[in-house]
Symmetry: C2
Subunit: 466 residues, 2 copies
């Protein structure tokens, strides 16, 4: 019986047994030894190192060829010099292996002869019903399966974010490129397994809630668009497309052998099919984390709570540029707060907490104001701008726990924060691990996240998704 396409993708993401062709005897930092990384990662399946010159590497018996392995092999990982890859693939196909990752470089990424060699390998694999990831890839990561073929160790995270990329930097560059992710596939030169294949796997995968794409180029744009149109109704798909400029596109062609295509066509196609396009890696990081943590707002009316009038104006400019609305405070909200302000002050949005805080204490005022905003039915989302105090000296200025409590209490309104000042990074991390508030390093980035969440809500509404 033939395997379904998604089942075959499972061999890549959830192999029970694998062979590594090209295992080095060098180990330790700087050796980039795939076998060592896999073992340290806690991989539970069987590993068959293939090396004709070694009896044993890292405690595992070596086999001279895949043909001499006495058991079934779900997946082969080939990390050999380019000129030895073709015969290695042949050997894998001969023993019926249906999933092959080619790590090696020097194929379509260098053009000419490399491209021809890649085409030949793909043809051979297709004939036998085998799939290839790569070449020129660092392969896959599936943290839920303790599986990692990249040659760099990193912290395992169990995140609902899954990645599809065409450059290993989007895997090994975590957390500052994408944030923590649960699964990743680097398509490299994308000679066979492509975005659509990986998307179909993620679509049905219950461990994947958000998908992030790094696209250098697409070989089959219409198939891609059909696939994302279907999947974007179920899961948000973020995408960074590089090779935006002509020179960038030329380099993309020589990097992963991709045709980058005209950028404006991508832009239009992305919008239509529900892809959320991001412009740089920091935005990718913000949105990947934000979509994992925050509810979608029901509308575009934001409330801003701030210590600083000047900080509020920074946020307003960005909000208006991104077509969000400043919420109008309800009479009930103003009524609640009116006794807390000096007579010369007037309440508005942004809601400047400073005069009240100076009179009545920062923490109690912060909580009162924040609750008032979140209870206001005219407010769909909240941005909180405050100073991140030095701890433990200034504990009495710390409002982070109040924000975390608010997010628990008001789970249907996204709360973003810009905790400016010295302890910004500490607070970003604190909110990240607490889970339901998202702190960002500028008001622009905080507002941009709210805008993306709102756009997602609008897209789903238009498509009639409840």
């Amino acid at each position: 019986m033939e395997m379904s396409a998604v089942d075959q993708m499972r061999l890549f993401f959830e192999p029970r047994s694998l062979a590594i062709l090209g295992v080095s005897r060098k180990t330790g930092a700087g050796s980039f030894n795939i076998l060592e990384i896999l073992q340290n990662y806690g991989f539970q399946g069987k590993i068959f190192p293939i090396n004709p010159n070694a009896q044993e590497i890292l405690g595992l018996r070596c086999f001279p060829t895949v043909g001499t392995v006495p058991e079934n092999i779900d997946l082969a990982i080939i990390s050999l010099d380019r000129d030895r890859v073709l015969s290695a693939v042949e050997a894998c196909l001969k023993v019926g292996i249906k999933a092959i990752i080619i790590i090696s470089q020097g194929f379509a990424d260098v053009g000419g002869e490399g491209k021809l060699l890649q085409d030949r390998i793909r043809g051979m694999a297709r004939e036998k019903g085998a799939r290839i990831v790569g070449p020129n890839t660092i392969g896959l990561v599936n943290n839920f399966h303790n599986f990692n073929t990249s040659f760099l160790p990193f912290d395992k995270a169990f995140s609902p974010l899954s990645i599809i990329c065409q450059s290993g930097i989007f895997v090994v560059g975590f957390p500052n490129i994408t944030g923590s992710f649960g699964k990743a596939i680097d398509l490299g030169n994308t000679c066979d397994v492509d975005f659509s294949d990986a998307l179909e796997y993620y679509a049905d995968d219950h461990q994947t809630k958000i998908i992030a794409l790094h696209i250098e180029g697409l070989n089959d744009g219409s198939k891609f668009i059909q696939t994302v149109r279907k999947i974007s109704l179920k899961k948000p798909i973020l995408a960074i497309k590089t090779g935006r400029t002509e020179i960038g596109a030329q380099k993309a062609a020589s990097h992963s052998g991709s045709m980058a295509g005209k950028d404006f066509l991508y832009d239009a196609a992305f919008k239509q099919s529900g892809i959320i396009r991001v412009n740089d890696i920091e935005e990718l990081n913000d949105l990947a984390k934000g979509f994992a943590r925050l509810p979608l707002p029901k509308g575009d009316r934001i409330g801003i709570l701030t210590y600083s009038g000047g900080g509020g104006i920074l946020a307003i400019d960005k909000a208006i540029e991104l077509h969000l609305q400043l919420a109008k405070l309800s009479p009930a909200t103003k009524q609640k707060l009116s006794s807390l302000i000096p007579p010369w002050f007037s309440l508005g949005n942004p809601l400047d907490i400073w005069p009240s805080a100076m009179q009545h204490g920062l923490q109690p005022m912060f909580k009162t104001y924040l609750w008032a905003l979140l209870e206001d039915e005219g407010v769909d989302a909240v941005l909180s701008i405050f100073l991140s105090p030095e701890l433990p000296n200034q504990e009495c200025l710390d409002v982070s726990d109040i924000l975390i409590e608010a997010a628990e209490k008001f789970p249907n309104k996204p709360i973003v924060a810009w905790p400016y000042g010295k302890n910004l990074n500490e607070l970003i991390r604190k909110f990240e691990s607490a889970g339901k508030v998202m702190a960002l390093s500028s008001p622009d980035r905080a507002i941009n996240l709210l805008s993306a969440l709102y756009e997602r809500c609008r897209f789903l509404q238009k498509r009639g998704v409840p």
Copy 2:
């Protein structure tokens, strides 16, 4: 003899004696006690607390009024309820004080009566030849003088960056808004002392090498432009202008009482007068630090050294969008490196170090490649993209010291870095304190800095400044 305008500004930045009107007896975190902050900051001048209800505060004798202080007072700081400010200013003027900071809120920032009160106070001060900073300000910081009137303590830095702003957030929000600064003045409502006054002080100040402005609005645009046109030839002036949108501008009017004006007019005027306009606080931070640390490039040809083809393409897109050129490697450079690459690989820009690093070791190759780029006469600036390794485990992958050595050895070419991955923030800090390499958290931001440095070079060339 009358004081010169700059000498009078010195009373604000370098007072030898000051009176504080409105000193609280509350101390400790959360009390926002100006006197306490000033003492902790190590201020060496005389301080006269004015408080009719206290004999002594924080070890200092209190005076019931400024009139009872038996010595000369360079500067008065008024932090009283709004309705007591006018008579306090009167008392200061009466004893001949020529510099007054009004911290209190509730003036043009709330409009109406507040605005009238502010105008009256300004009129009184002008009559007596006194200058006023504020109202609605946190005042000044001069770290070289151990002087800080803000109500929040922070680390003292001796940075060549000086700030002029209209919101205290640009002072207390350091380091993540502006980076470390040496001097700052918050103009608040800017009823009297304005951007031009502060710029004239900074222009002649040998401790100031870079000036950053936060502008909500200008009352006298043509005077401002005349001033910056002159000073931008000597020192780079960065500016963030808020109230870009109409709603943002309205809020700016109600924050600092400023007229924000049409944004495109600012844009044109800034360009003409040599102001480097930044779009958000992260860009302000990047450029402020970058201009303090890096030499200006002689041209627009950048060389990119990268571990990752995909990372290189991210940088190219941004470089091309900002009109920078990708340097063409000279034949000599290619010759130097040709023996280090596999036969199927070809050298280009971005210079992908990975194949050589895998064969010959990462650190030696990194140094060889980096030196080759910096020695190439066709390369004006370098961006290095590399993985920030986990330390101390992966010390053999650490290239930060090689970059620092390169910056010493090639002091005329700016080097920026994007050390992606887990230890990004640690490496940013390491380079910041080492001083001559600037690391940024994305390739876009790294390229944007190089572009700003190059634009500054072009501006000076056009104006005939050597």
